[in-house]
């Protein structure tokens, strides 16, 4: 008989201590569950929308068209000679992932309460699986970016492409860090999700999605870049579109801040985790 994956030889259940670290080994043991939850989220997402997978293509594309018409053509937002469509789409690519991941992760513990109340597994798997899920949309939207570049006869910077996974990692850490924090908060305070919608909308205006970061006066830049998404989108454009050399300081700062966010999220999560089943 094949040994099962989750076999634990001895478990001791005790009243929880004030703080416990993340048990990475245990999460690794439950990787099949992580995989299946991502798979479920993707399946359900595409089954519930009428147009299915096409939605992942249409949503950023339509946003891009609207923004291009209003901000590119009518308001004429400066983009340093880059076609506005390509410019805004690069920003939207990351922003859409960020806002979708953050919103759904914040809601993840509540929407999966039925399994949290009935089965044991490391609870962190639920928000992580939810943050991973929109990566599928991201990849689809990413392919569209290249089609768009071909359409505009725009030559991207090859080194910029290599930077994309790193930027994705920062985006992932930011949205999962904030998301895990808010998900834990949402277990107790159910109005978090309504406040979040408003918060994300505001956040979009202080993130250079529709405009270029170059319009921000120099002395305010450091405040502006406290938002790791501002760093991510600027870096993506600089390296992929502007053919500029890499701003290592900005990359390190964005990475550092997103790392702090994920630490805060995990810390709060671990502190509240044990009572989820009682409160949900």
């Amino acid at each position: 008989m094949k040994q099962q994956n989750y076999t634990t030889t001895f478990i001791e259940i005790k009243p929880p201590k004030a703080f416990v670290g993340i048990d990475l080994k245990e999460i690794w043991q439950y990787r099949d569950l992580l995989y299946i939850l991502v798979w479920r989220n993707v399946k359900v997402r595409y089954k519930q929308t009428v147009v299915g997978v096409a939605w992942a293509i249409f949503q950023p594309l339509i946003t891009m068209v609207i923004f291009t018409v209003f901000f590119g053509r009518l308001i004429k937002v400066p983009t340093d000679n880059i076609p506005y469509a390509v410019f805004v789409y690069t920003g939207l690519l990351y922003w859409n992932y960020f806002s979708t991941a953050l919103t759904s992760t914040s809601d993840s513990l509540v929407s999966d309460e039925s399994i949290i109340k009935k089965v044991y597994f490391p609870r962190i798997i639920v928000p992580i699986a939810t943050t991973v899920t929109p990566l599928v949309d991201f990849l689809v939207a990413f392919l569209i970016l290249f089609i768009l570049m071909v359409f505009y006869r725009f030559m991207p910077n090859f080194w910029g492409i290599l930077l994309l996974p790193v930027l994705m990692l920062i985006t992932f850490m930011t949205s999962s860090g904030l998301g895990i924090f808010l998900a834990s908060l949402n277990v107790k305070y159910r109005d978090v999700r309504y406040i979040l919608g408003f918060f994300i909308q505001l956040l979009m205006y202080i993130t250079p999605v529709i405009y270029s970061a170059s319009i921000i006066p120099d002395r305010f830049r450091w405040i502006f870049y406290l938002n790791p998404m501002a760093g991510v989108i600027t870096l993506a454009r600089d390296s992929l579109l502007h053919h500029l050399s890499l701003d290592w300081t900005l990359l390190a700062a964005s990475f550092g801040i997103s790392f702090i966010l994920i630490l805060i999220g995990l810390f709060y999560f671990r502190r509240t985790e044990r009572f989820f089943a009682d409160v949900l």
């Binding site: 094949k2 099962q4 994956n5 989750y6 076999t7 634990t8 030889t9 001895f10 478990i11 001791e12 259940i13 005790k14 009243p15 929880p16 099949d32 569950l33 995989y35 299946i36 798979w39 479920r40 399946k43 359900v44 089954k47 519930q48 039925s114 399994i115 949290i116 109340k117 009935k118 089965v119 044991y120 597994f121 277990v187 107790k188 305070y189 159910r190 109005d191 978090v192 406040i195 044990r274 009572f275 089943a277 009682d278 409160v279 949900l280």
Partner: protein
């Protein structure tokens, strides 16, 4: 005793679980929290769902856990299956635990039967290779192979339960924890499940089994514990514990007799000698369930010639709210007619499928002609209804309310 030397597979020491209960909601809104800063803190009450539980379970044992609603059974299972942490004490477990606290854990309505097998099995703790290996067996056991690619939202409840149980039945843990999930599905499938359960029992697997179905506990479990208010009040052979429990459930008082005429409830004309809950054959009840009809039988003596005997039965719930009154003024034989001295017996027939599985207090009022000489005796009988199968149908959750009648439903396409 050689058996005592086997190391326990589960060892529970001094286990306790405390909940805070207050006037507050379980979850709040941030808005409330901000406004509450300026309010005085509401006092919270402690409630120990489990207290001082000490228990050793040996490998291969099938342990039944019985007790009334709110006695801590489900909390105990949740602590052992690590869903909620204990407040005091510790539990040591050797081996892999699978908990079946509900039927269809993790099922998603939009997904097909096939997809849900993978999903639910993974959530219940199976690895992907294991699911692939057992997939065909699960499908075969469930008898729904032709609907495998239909979303489960289109399943009938019977099909849903079959699929859900089939997944559960193919888990392969060292310790299986089951909370009242068997009382579902059609009779044949239930039998199949029970068969599968006893197979599990013979395969040296440890099973913790919570059920309101006393027959199932008796036939499946070797040992049983009886929980009451978070404490183990009896631990022993399943049959003995179940018998004790049935005789004692919720401190039921199914019958009362007064031999001493001074203490007996009485008025100037009559004296109550005894009151009992009886089954259709006239035997005093041992167990009351919501499906079965029963009678309230009052035995009394008419002291004065030409008296009248009027009765009123009042059913109260735990909070002392009167649920209903019932007078004997429709009784044809004797009501409203003068009775000669001697012994009489009046019976009130109460249908099955009427009360919900709640605790009730019975008050008896009796009176002479024209409601004169009215005497009321409170808490004359107390009883708790056990859950039943008939009115429950395919719905597995709690039924709210004090009554659970089975009304007729009709649906027609317009």
């Amino acid at each position: 005793m050689a058996k005592n030397k086997i190391e326990p597979i589960i060892k529970i020491e001094n286990l306790g679980k405390k909940y805070m209960i207050g006037a507050k909601e379980r979850y709040y809104s941030l808005r409330d929290s901000f406004t509450n800063i300026f309010k005085k803190k509401q006092s919270k009450k402690e409630f120990w769902a489990l207290k001082n539980i000490n228990l050793e379970i040996k490998k291969g044992e099938i342990l039944g856990i019985i007790g009334t609603n709110g006695s801590g059974k489900s909390t105990l299972l949740k602590v052992i299956s690590r869903i909620t942490p204990p407040t005091t004490g510790r539990v040591g477990i050797k081996g892999k635990v699978a908990a079946l606290l509900e039927i269809g854990t993790g099922f998603h309505q939009e997904l097909t039967g096939r997809e849900n097998i993978f999903l639910s099995a993974a959530i219940l703790g199976m690895s992907r290779t294991e699911i692939t290996e057992k997939f065909d067996q699960i499908v075969e056991f469930s008898e729904i192979s032709q609907f495998l690619d239909t979303p489960v939202k289109r399943y009938s409840s019977g099909m849903y339960v079959r699929l859900a149980f089939s997944i559960a039945a193919h888990l392969d843990p060292d310790i299986l924890i089951i909370d009242e999930v068997l009382a579902v599905g059609d009779i044949n499938f239930q039998k199949k499940c029970l068969g599968r359960m006893s197979e599990i029992g013979q395969s040296d697997r440890t099973v913790l089994f919570v059920s309101h179905n006393m027959m199932a506990v008796k036939s499946l479990c070797g040992r049983a514990i009886w929980l009451d208010k978070g404490k183990i009040i009896m631990d022993g052979k399943a049959e003995e514990v179940v018998d004790q429990y049935i005789g004692n459930i919720g401190k039921n008082v199914f019958h009362r007799k007064w031999s001493n005429t001074c203490e007996a409830p009485q008025n100037a004309n009559m004296i109550i000698e005894g009151i009992r809950l009886v089954d259709c054959k006239g035997e005093t009840l041992k167990y009351l369930d919501i499906d079965t009809a029963f009678n309230v039988e009052i035995e009394y003596k008419i002291k004065k010639d030409r008296s009248h005997a009027g009765f009123n039965l009042m059913f109260f719930n735990k909070d002392n709210t009167c649920l209903l009154c019932n007078l004997n003024n429709f009784e044809k034989e004797w009501y409203g007619k003068p009775m000669t001295t001697g012994k009489y017996k009046s019976i009130c027939k109460i249908p099955g499928q009427f009360f919900n599985n709640r605790f009730f207090n019975l008050s008896l009022a009796f009176f002479n002609k024209g409601f004169s000489d009215f005497v009321r005796f409170d808490n004359i009988l107390k009883f708790e209804f056990g859950d039943g199968v008939v009115v429950r149908g395919d719905y597995l959750g709690e039924y709210d309310g004090l009554l659970r009648p089975k009304f007729e439903w009709e649906t027609k396409k317009q």
